[in-house]
């Protein structure tokens, strides 16, 4: 091979991913059960970004797995198998969403103003304009409060479901599932900055709920 040959545009083939695909192609049921268990939580969150209910999201995930089972030969190892499966989930999800006549404006920019109650900051007449007021400044959570993580976790799980859908989907994929920002942008066709806006708004709302829960500050009058 010539040293002058230009670098390939496609990323290198991923041998472990190809080996996994080969096992699946050979009908390895255990390998299939394993990836169904491993990827389905993420797929449910992706699907939920396109369809109206949890039940519809499960339908999307089921249909995706059947489609994956039939088209394994088409996997070329240019991405991880997980990325490939998530792309199929996105396509199936989008189709189901369209059938539900439900078009989530994923690319629409979210600019609902500040994420923190403006009352907590000093007004423009104040020499410290834009700084925290004495009552508004966040109070550090104590170790005792943080020890209540079990309850906080239950609260968090419940409150996640109440976030606006795009914020919820991004927070779930990024912070619960640990998917990287680039993958989230690819799946929903959003810009890196829009992804960060959605993530920030979701995180800020959840932080506020925790603050109310830990009682670090009296509820705003």
């Amino acid at each position: 091979m010539s040293a002058l040959k230009p670098a390939p545009i496609q990323p290198a083939l991923q041998p472990t991913e190809l080996a996994l695909a080969a096992r699946l192609i050979a009908g390895d049921e255990a390998a299939f059960a394993e990836i169904v268990a491993a990827y389905s939580p993420l797929m449910l969150h992706v699907a939920r970004g396109f369809v109206a209910t949890r039940t519809s999201a499960e339908d999307v995930v089921q249909e995706t797995w059947l489609q994956v089972s039939c088209s394994l030969e088409g996997f070329e190892g240019r991405s991880t198998l997980r990325t490939w499966v998530l792309a199929i989930t996105r396509n199936v999800g989008r189709r189901h969403g369209a059938a539900e006549a439900r078009e989530l404006a994923w690319s629409q920019l979210d600019d609902g103003g500040g994420t923190v109650d403006p009352q907590r900051f000093r007004g423009s007449q104040d020499p410290w304009a834009g700084g925290w007021t004495t009552a508004g400044a966040p109070v550090a959570w104590s170790p005792e409060q943080l020890a209540l993580d079990g309850e906080a976790l239950t609260l968090m799980t419940r409150c996640l479901r109440e976030l606006p859908l795009r914020q919820r989907t991004v927070v779930e994929l990024r912070d619960v599932d640990g998917l990287d920002a680039g993958a989230v942008c690819d799946i929903f066709g959003i810009s890196a900055s829009n992804q960060r806006v959605l993530l920030h708004r979701g995180r800020a709302k959840l932080r506020q709920l925790l603050e109310d829960y830990y009682g670090g500050r009296e509820a705003a009058p």
Binding site: V36, S40, E58, G130, P138, L153, A181, R196
Partner: protein, 84 residues
């Protein structure tokens, strides 16, 4: 916002996800860190956002129902009978 005007707390709280994601220009990140170093309110706020993210990492992932998973494995068996 010009480079000469220092960041206010109200601006800082909106920049923290960009900061954690490494998406701020180096000069802006430096200005933000300078603010955090001298502002207990904002550094507490950042610690609380980080705690929120950590808690989210401990949320139980959504599972596909056990019966659905079993059904999928059965369907897979039908679509791809094991090769000898």
């Amino acid at each position: 916002m010009t480079p000469s005007s220092p960041l206010t707390c109200r601006q800082v709280v909106e920049m923290l996800t960009d900061y954690l994601e490494g998406a701020l220009a180096p000069s802006t990140a430096a200005a933000l860190e300078e603010h955090l170093a001298t502002c207990p309110g904002c550094s507490t706020y950042l610690a609380q956002i980080s705690h929120t993210v950590r808690l989210l990492g401990a949320v139980t992932p959504d599972e596909l129902p056990e019966s659905t998973q079993k059904g999928l494995v059965a369907a897979f068996r039908g679509l791809r009978p094991p090769r000898p």
